[in-house]
Symmetry: C2
């Protein structure tokens, strides 16, 4: 294949601009000017440097491309047209109901989109994950190209990514920064000061190249330099103009996210509508060597009654899973001695990614690894996963299959105090689209659920406990996602206590105490918080008329909400009571914490007695 000439690339770039203007005009919205600044960068990348078989997006040798400035989607879709992937009719469906050409790109119907973008500062961190996969796992020489905006370099997540990529010497990663000087509401902090970006990136271990982002030959040299730089990631800092090519839009404020005012004149000024085609170089033949291992999964087994923390069981089960499956990788936020992924790190060092204290980068790297076919488990304290909330939200938009484990859930951690307590994590993960939220109470249950998550699509979350808990179940018990365990039940049950995790033991003790005074209670271990076992809850409601939830979490969005939602179908609803953490905890022993929060055995027993009395009265 003959490479396109500079002149041909310039004309392609103009076509990308024209099509960007056209689609935004047709849609009545969309980011025309942000597309126009990057058109030359895109044309040169596609025409000369990217190696990608668009017919086979799964080709292991394909270079990867992420449009981190996802609002420049018109440019991406215009490129798809130039590549012959979509036709002009489809192009003009941009931003309409049912079109796969969404306002910001998502992979749900576009096989060429790696991950959803649109929340700025995420493309580079995810690209780091892909580059890590290429370098450390696939060992295939693909490159990862990320087209960034300049505004988004203000996000701390970009500097987590810069640090990670620099330290890991990811020379297969290139950031192309479209420095168009203008953000959404006006000038960026650094304007056209390319050196400001260069200094920062160099300090983080990057090679940088500055160029005129509208000079096709200069861009070509810069991208070639990126490809030939060894031992360092490269950032191509391109000076560009927003709205480039149209005099009354070029470098002007107030035009972000809008169609041009006079699209017909603009199209004429840009040279008119064309239908040029662009060919992309094929990737070299490649074979990925990390085929899933055939090993039989041997989960750890715990004797009934054995005292072991669910976080330890998590670490052991994950290690076993890693032995059975070569696609399983683990990431940690510099707390592997607490989350207990240190065992995985020891046994599978090549598949363990230390992300240091950078939870956004950790989740982003997981998304990047998942996009490359791996099954990532990323772990930190439940409390600190809130740092990555936006990345988890966007991972759901991407349809990414990632698993997250949050340790040190709830007040039960004890002395460390509220800063370290995950008390909002169930609310956060439950609200994520298509998520699975699990909260095991013992080691065997944990082990089973760690394995089950590997097969589960979407965002999986497992909540673990710091302290030791007795193994309640035998090692052969099964725990399907969406299920629950009825631990006590009789025809005389007057109240159902619904617990999960650390409160299961409290619920059982309370039930025993109540049985002594003649009050029979049903006890449900609701380890699958989402999806929830509606059938079992409904039966309990019918039999006992009242459900008391007890959770080591805030009252909002957690276990109590999960149970309520199970009855939000217009049918009869049982009486409901939520015991949850309503105060701001301080330091105390785990036992004192549960007592202070009113979620221990005594509080449960007292609540049940009160309910029974109310029921008698009413």
């Amino acid at each position: 294949m003959a490479q396109p000439t500079d002149d041909e690339l310039t004309r392609i770039a103009q076509q990308l601009r024209v099509d960007s203007v056209r689609v935004a005009a047709a849609a009545g919205s969309g980011h025309a000017t942000s597309s126009m600044s990057a058109a030359d960068l895109m044309a040169v990348l596609l025409g000369r440097h990217l190696r990608h078989d668009f017919e086979r997006p799964e080709h292991p040798g394909n270079d990867r491309f992420i449009l981190s400035k996802g609002h420049a989607s018109p440019l991406l879709y215009a490129s798809y047209k130039a590549l012959g992937l979509i036709d002009d009719d489809e192009l003009r469906t941009f931003r309409t109901l049912g079109s796969r050409l969404e306002g910001h790109p998502t992979p749900r119907a576009l096989p060429w989109v790696e991950v959803a973008t649109g929340s700025l500062g995420q493309g580079l961190p995810i690209g780091v994950g892909m580059a890590l996969a290429g370098k450390r796992l696939d060992r295939v020489g693909y490159r990862v190209w990320v087209l960034c905006g300049d505004s988004e370099l203000a996000e701390g997540s970009v500097w987590e990514a810069a640090e990670h990529a620099g330290s890991e010497h990811l020379d297969n990663l290139t950031a192309i920064v479209d420095v168009n000087r203008l953000g959404q509401r006006g000038p960026t902090r650094h304007g056209h000061d390319l050196d400001a970006y260069a200094r920062r990136l160099q300090a983080f271990g990057w090679h940088t190249v500055e160029c005129d982002g509208h000079d096709v030959a200069a861009i070509d040299r810069a991208l070639a330099e990126a490809r030939s730089t060894l031992g360092q990631p490269t950032a191509v800092l391109a000076r560009t103009l927003k709205g480039k090519g149209v005099a009354d839009a070029e470098d002007r404020e107030g035009l972000h996210g809008k169609p041009l005012k006079h699209p017909d004149e603009a199209i004429a000024e840009l040279g008119g509508v064309t239908d040029l085609r662009l060919e992309v170089q094929q990737p070299p033949a490649a074979r990925v060597l990390h085929a899933v291992q055939s090993g039989h999964l041997e989960l750890p087994r715990y004797e009934k009654g054995e005292e072991i923390a669910t976080r330890s069981a998590y670490g052991q089960a994950l290690t076993a899973l890693g032995s059975a499956r070569g696609d399983v990788v683990a990431l940690d936020g510099e707390v592997s001695d607490s989350t207990k992924t240190e065992q995985f790190a020891k046994e599978h060092p090549e598949r363990f990614f230390e992300c240091y204290i950078a939870e956004q980068q950790m989740v982003a790297a997981a998304v990047g690894l998942a996009a490359r076919g791996y099954t990532p488990y990323a772990s930190s304290f439940a409390a600190f996963l809130t740092r990555a909330h936006d990345f988890v939200r966007m991972a759901a938009v991407s349809g990414s299959d990632i698993k997250l484990a949050g340790s040190h859930a709830g007040v039960s951690i004890g002395q460390d105090g509220p800063s370290q307590m995950g008390l909002e994590d169930l609310a956060m993960f439950r609200s994520v689209h298509g998520s699975t939220v699990l909260y095991p109470c013992d080691a065997n249950q944990t082990a089973q659920l760690v394995a089950a998550l590997a097969e589960r699509p979407g965002i999986g979350y497992l909540r673990t406990t710091r302290g030791e808990t007795p193994a309640l179940y035998g090692p052969d018990e099964t725990f399907p996602i969406g299920g629950s365990k009825v631990l006590r039940s009789s025809d005389a049950d007057r109240v159902t206590i619904v617990a999960a995790g650390v409160t299961v033991r409290e619920a059982l003790a309370a039930a025993d105490q109540l049985a002594e005074v003649g009050i029979a209670c049903r006890v449900i271990d609701l380890y699958s918080v989402k999806p929830v076992d509606t059938a079992t809850l409904r039966e309990a409601a019918e039999r006992t008329g009242c459900l008391l939830t007890v959770e080591d979490h805030r009252p909002e969005g957690g276990l109590g909400d999960a149970v309520s939602e199970a009855f939000a179908d217009g049918g009869p609803v049982p009486r409901l009571v939520r015991l949850a953490v309503r105060h701001m905890p301080g330091s105390a022993t785990p036992g004192e914490q549960l007592r202070s929060a009113g979620i221990d055995e005594a509080a449960i027993a007292a609540a049940v007695r009160l309910l029974v009395e109310i029921a008698v009265v009413s």
Copy 2:
């Protein structure tokens, strides 16, 4: 007051170490070694450089101090003892139930703690907010000193702060970095390579000084250099040893967060228990000139029926509030043309803080400004506030009074697609301890609630809508926090529709449509999502037996949960149904989006009819 000699400071530092070892040993937990590395830094800062009247924490001239590495709380409390603020008996209550000496410091009972720390990477961003207050608003020459760990420099939020401080030339801010080489689970990325940190910080516009963190004279020179550096913030990079002073702990891995194994021997090795006192320099006389303005609040008024977006009303009301109250400040994440805080920026430029696309830094700066007595409103897209989840969580631990406004809530934004839609924000903010969550449906309501939030303690959240909505209420209507508005009601009501924000209009239209076929519905505008108007909901339940919630949010943790929680008191629960956004939206017009999500007029009407039929059947 005579300054302590180098020798005296060295002895004070040893006492801080001894007391750190003692309290961790007594508690059986706590971060002794992380305290020991920073003891000399703390002694020199307190003895020679900090200017603070500990008897008057509110003194406007006081320097501010933040222990960003909050796990080194033993060092902080040992310092309080050396300053005579607490006695040895209290010191030994460390980490016990009811003690104000918590595992990680919080300001709830300690007047000398500015903000809660313990989630790493937050102290410096908050310090930037305080330094901005000092420089731009108070115009008092206090300095802000932040003692950071080295591990936490991996957090992106630290680099958002570095960028903000460097760009704003905050020479009243000093970061003292305790580079002890060891994180929680092992060595940090850069170990003792002080230059690695210096290069990065310098690139972000900081002055840096490197020193031996155990050489009192060298520390003194470094801090003096920080104080005398103009036009730039300074980072003092101190090479230290974790566990310094005790041979079998010094510079060793595996000792993070634990008491020393042989505390008595360690104390002896450190020179034994002493009871030395340290005096801190008094601040200069100072007066803050920003006394609250006396202006009468004139909120904007909208005619009934006027079409205006609640985000616009937010911007207008905030501007009016700023005119009436000099303590009101606004922060924005580079989207002020969307959140509509641009009007505030124009009218009160000195009190507007552009934070660029760095939501963590934005919220942290708000916390810092609130700590200095200001009333901050921070705004971005609701979706992007998820970036700052951990900062919001920690602000609640701090007891901070900050207000956040999230625009572009829900699918109703239309074409931009899911990356820009706030669909999890209600769940996130409701789960935050002590929060207030408001979701107005019209302009007059918005204006009133913006003003009401100013008086409300804790974390306040206001959710605004992108598109125009008609003013439903007159300008004299009042909307107390915790209230609701019953918009339709009759004795014949068979179902209650509970809506908020953009779904209120849909609910009213559905009710009108249903009235035509003889089905009377009650309609409640539940603008106060937390706290929720339990009395009105209960009355509606008693009268109609069934509550249908309709929300432009995920089914979990939002309006539906708020209504369910109102009935989680063990009393009878009405039939409940939740209409919410259950699919992953794409691009479409706002009307199409509401229809696709099943939360529009037609969906509500259909659901009510179904419920009425079920009720007839059952």
